[in-house]
């Protein structure tokens, strides 16, 4: 594993857009809000940015060109990323590699999507109601059998996990409840009402074993970060957060092959990130885990080595994921409650926790090391990021 890059680069600014229902904006408009906020946060100016690595709704062609035009930035290096929810950490990895290769020096990475507006703004939108552009959907072996939506694909894995390891619905509920409790402390979160186990279990059935509260919540929103060298970071406004480790792995042979439905690409992606960082799972102070569905948190807790395979359910149910627990996770409320922005807000939250500048009721005390995960393409692709207070 390449340890030369360990702590050589840093995240020096973070930003996010308005979050929730923002019908007066667009996916690109939201991303512009987040990116300008991130540059401001870093104490930099437009002219300092010379690279963009980003993603938006997957039907915007050459997305980086569009956002570059809006922001008035010509780039030494720019591209859009096409790796689903694994794209956002991958953007940061690509930025580090590009800076290290001397192609650029200050990179803006971000993601934005008008997911709420796309699925709710009109009756037509409510009917169509898919966030995957039609031309990108499979034309066979899926819809004709009644298989629709990401929830069902992931529920296949959740059911297998339950049958194989005895994972229970209540254990999945403990994930949703913990993250909702965190969201209640976050004024920007979309769903902040407390959630109890009885209400969780009574959630509207979606696709067994998932009910409403097992599924992330679609919002309009965007997040962004600024990446540059640790050396340059020393002169900037904010305490830098060092990029201590990263990893990727993509199960391109498919979701249903082998045991991938219960043992995800997080295992190999995470092992690489820990090796680069020179850290063990027990040294992580807070985890921001890609929570498209409750069961995927359980599987990743195992795959990252925070507990043994099959023990993710009991681990979550022990209260470990709560603020004050052994591994405070998704401390902004996660995609299950704060809002689903494809993992971008988990990166922002990981940086804020490692900077240690959150309000006291939200801050993981003494957090030095934060792990962030991202997966996408129905959990085929995975990226991992380990951050350290600078």
């Amino acid at each position: 594993m390449n340890t030369e890059l360990r702590n050589k680069y840093a995240i020096v600014g973070v930003g996010q857009s308005r979050l929730g229902k923002v019908p007066d904006s667009t996916a690109l408009g939201l991303l512009a809000e987040a990116m300008t906020a991130a540059v401001d946060d870093a104490g930099l100016r437009r002219g300092d940015v010379d690279a963009i690595v980003c993603r938006g709704p997957d039907d915007i062609y050459a997305h980086h060109q569009r956002i570059g035009e809006i922001l008035g930035i010509d780039a030494e290096f720019s591209t859009s990323v096409d790796n689903g929810g694994a794209s956002q950490i991958l953007s940061i990895i690509l930025a580090v590699l590009a800076i290290d290769a001397g192609l650029c020096s200050v990179a803006l990475c971000g993601y934005g999507r008008d997911s709420w507006s796309r699925t709710h703004r009109s009756e037509e939108a409510r009917q169509r109601a898919s966030l995957v552009p039609e031309e990108q959907q499979h034309g066979e072996f899926e819809h004709e059998f009644g298989l629709f939506g990401a929830a069902a694909t992931h529920a296949l894995g959740a059911r297998r996990h339950m049958e194989r390891y005895g994972t229970t619905k209540e254990q999945l509920g403990s994930v949703a409840i913990a993250f909702r409790e965190h969201a209640s402390r976050n004024p920007d979160a979309y769903l902040r009402e407390p959630l109890g186990m009885a209400e969780y279990l009574a959630g509207r059935p979606i696709v067994d074993p998932f009910g409403l509260f097992d599924c992330s919540v679609p919002v309009d929103g965007a997040g962004a970060v600024v990446v540059t060298s640790a050396e340059r970071a020393r002169d900037l406004r904010r305490r830098p957060v060092l990029i201590r480790g990263f990893g990727t792995f993509n199960n391109l042979r498919g979701w249903t092959a082998g045991e991938r439905m219960v043992e995800t690409a997080a295992k190999r992606s995470g092992a690489k990130a820990f090796a680069m960082a020179g850290l063990a799972p027990a040294e992580v102070d807070t985890a921001q885990i890609y929570d498209c569905f409750t069961s995927m948190v359980v599987a990743q807790l195992e795959d990252y080595g925070f507990c043994a395979k099959g023990e993710g359910g009991p681990f979550a149910a022990s209260g470990a994921l709560r603020l004050g627990g052994a591994l405070p996770a998704n401390t902004s409320g996660g995609q299950l409650s704060e809002g689903h922005v494809e993992g971008m807000l988990q990166i922002v939250e990981g940086v804020r926790q490692a900077r240690g500048d959150l309000a006291k009721e939200r801050q993981v005390e003494g957090a030095e090391i934060a792990l962030v995960s991202g997966h996408g393409g129905n959990t085929v692709c995975h990226s991992s990021l380990i951050l350290q207070r600078g």
Binding site: A151, R159, V207
Partner: protein, 152 residues
């Protein structure tokens, strides 16, 4: 809480007034057309390369050995349930009358795994590992679907 909808899932389908959407017929490709032709003839045929590796979904070469040569070989049409989900809400109006219905990943005795819908078994009776066999259901437009039912 009524505003919360199922994340990467989709909002509740409006009830009542809208006409049902057309059935989402498969769109065969040059690679998959023989699969659908065989189903119409009441046979479950998959690609098998010259070196004996079965494969699914249909592809232009064998992912194990990259051999392009091979045939469409008839399977026994028997396998076991690897994973399954039961749909409790409507995603597509063509399936509304079937709710609750169960979609499963079935591993055939020959090895490949197929996504399919289970018939002849209630959602609460399905279990992982359950043996199943193919049954063919014409759905119009000259399309026949390979569904699976509990094995005799």
């Amino acid at each position: 809480m009524t505003e919360a909808t199922a994340g990467s899932a989709t909002p509740r389908a409006p009830s009542g007034t809208k006409p049902p959407r057309p059935f989402p017929f498969p769109k065969p490709t040059r690679d998959s057309q023989p699969f659908w032709d065989a189903c119409r003839a009441g046979e479950l045929r998959l690609q098998r390369c010259a070196n004996g590796h079965w494969r699914f979904p249909p592809a232009p070469l064998c992912p194990e050995c990259w051999t392009r040569e091979g045939t469409w070989e008839r399977t026994r049409g028997r396998g076991r349930v690897i994973a399954y989900v039961t749909f409790r809400r409507v995603y597509h109006s063509a399936f509304a009358p079937l709710i609750p219905y169960t979609v499963a990943v079935v591993e055939l005795e020959e090895g490949p795994r197929l996504t399919t819908r289970l018939v002849g078994v209630g959602p609460d009776e399905v279990k992982g590992g359950m043996p199943v066999e193919v049954t063919f259901e014409p759905v119009g437009n000259d399309v026949t679907l390979p569904l699976f039912k509990p094995a005799k």
